[in-house]
Each structure stands twice: as structure tokens, then as C-alpha cells.
Symmetry: C2
Subunit: 164 residues, 2 copies
């Protein structure tokens, strides 16, 4: 009775398929970003997020949606600043905060990277998908994402066994 309901074979297959697709995709993307722009995935995510939101964000807002700890974000921001792709300035209104700004050089690198990135996603992921498939993915994965964002992170995990 302490056993959770086992995963049905179809559920297992879906879980594995998701895992494997994401892993293969991430690997290919990493390679492409490094080759085309000398960027790591987290660095690209930061630049892309900045670009998508007007080019300037506070550290805290930048962290939203990204997986980082604060120190991890500080580290990545420092890397990007070293390369001149981003600048950090004290926040205008709140003196505690730091505003991260995408520099022209940062935009250039994004411009260098995006075509290959789009092409890669097209070729790897979209080639075998119809519009209907894509709508289905959006529907299903969108629901999973919303649920995951809502779900209690970890404390609710029941009956953790003692360490080995």
C-alpha cells in the first residue's frame, strides 16, 4: 500500500520519449550555439530573454522562468559582461537592484546565432510534424507546463526512503 500506482506502459513510453527528445534536442542546440556564436545554452537563454523583453531587465526578473539560483545567474551575467554582450548598471529606482542591458554586440551575436538555431529546430523537430501535431503538442505540453509550475515543488513528495 505504500507503492504508488505503477506507470502504465504507454505512460512510461511517453515519459521516455519526452526525455529522449529533449535530451537530443538540447545536445544539438548546444553544439549549434557554440559553433555559431560561442554561446552556452544558459547564456543564449539570457540573451534571448533580454531581447524578447525590450533589452533590459532586472536580475530578479531575468531569473524568472530560468532555472538558476541567484548565484548562478550572477555567474552567467558576469560571463556575458566579460564578452561585452551585456552591461550591468545599478537600478534606477531601487538602488539594490541591477539592470542588465543587452548591448549592440549582444544583439549582433544573437543575430549570428538565430538563423542556425531556427534552422536546427526546423530540421530536427518540425520536419516530421503537421500543423495538427503542433497544435496537439501545444495543448498537451501546455497543460503539463502549467500544472508543473503550479504543483508543490518538492516538500509534498511522500515517504522518502533513508539514504543508502
Amino acid at each position: 500500500m505504500t507503492e504508488p500506482t505503477p506507470l502504465a506502459p504507454a505512460q512510461l513510453a511517453a515519459y521516455f520519449a519526452l526525455t529522449e527528445v529533449a535530451s537530443l534536442l538540447q545536445h544539438a542546440v548546444e553544439q549549434q550555439l557554440r559553433t555559431d556564436g560561442g554561446l552556452t545554452t544558459p547564456q543564449f537563454q539570457i540573451l534571448a530573454r533580454l531581447n524578447a523583453t525590450g533589452g533590459r531587465l532586472r536580475m530578479t526578473d531575468l531569473a524568472d522562468g530560468l532555472v538558476y539560483s541567484r548565484s548562478g545567474l550572477t555567474y552567467q551575467a558576469a560571463q556575458l559582461e566579460k564578452r561585452g554582450l551585456v552591461s550591468r548598471t545599478p537600478g534606477a529606482d531601487d538602488e539594490r537592484s541591477v539592470e542588465v542591458t543587452l548591448t549592440p554586440a549582444g544583439r549582433d551575436v544573437l543575430g549570428q546565432v538565430m538563423p542556425g538555431h531556427v534552422e536546427l529546430v526546423q530540421r530536427l523537430m518540425m520536419t516530421s510534424l503537421s500543423d495538427t501535431d503542433i497544435a496537439a503538442l501545444n495543448d498537451v505540453l501546455g497543460r503539463v507546463r502549467d500544472h508543473m509550475r503550479t504543483a508543490p515543488p518538492r516538500s509534498a513528495a511522500p515517504r522518502a526512503a533513508k539514504r543508502a
Copy 2:
């Protein structure tokens, strides 16, 4: 004319949803594996793969499907051997090879970890999915996976810009 066809908004959304779900899931799984069994994700993958294939595999066969470089696999196998979860012995037929065997202790740790793992996947991913959804995921992601496995890894990536 050098620009690839841009991703349609629905395609972008599907790409992001996949990325985000996988990232959140992976993060939660890492946490669970560490808490319940002191395992990292790659270590768990190795143990699970061994368990699923009868408990014994050559290093090379073990590497199949996992992303590692050979040295990376050696490293992980060494970690697992230190903890006694796995043993390494010279190959029976081919003296060059090494056979990795899941030990009883290794099975125990898997047993400690699996219930929480299944429960997590149930709670995070399956809660919001109907049987139809799961079938759709298998269909769509299965096709993407097959295509990715087939696709030319990287050399075919066109027009890489010079580094920044």
C-alpha cells in the same frame, strides 16, 4: 535569401513548451533521486539501464543511448563502483572489454528510488493527461525521436557564421 523560414508562432510555442517541461521535469527528478537515493541523473540512468537489460552490460553497450563520451561513462561507472552499486570485471570473451554488473546493493538503491520516481512522474506529468493525450504524445514525440535519431547530427548545419 539566406534566412531560414522563420518558426511560426505555434511552432515556437511548441518548442518552448517542450523545452520548459523537460527542464522542470529534469530538475524535479534530480532532486528526488538525490533525496531518495543519493543518485545523480546519469547514475540513475546507468543503474536503470542495467536493471532493464538483465543486470550486466559491456561498457560500450551501456553507452548506447546515453549521451556520454567514453571517459564520462568511465567516470560514472567508477563513482558507482566506489559506492558498491556496480562491479566491473574483465569481459569473458573479449579481453579488452569490461562488463558492468548491477550488485545487490545497486538493486536496493533502485528499489529505494523507484517508488518516489514513479510517484513524481505521476504527479508532475500524468495528472493533467488523459489516455488520449498520452497516446498523442507517444505518436508525436515518437516520430520526432525517430527522426532525430536518423537526422545527420550536425555537419549538415548550413552557413555557420564566424565566431563573435
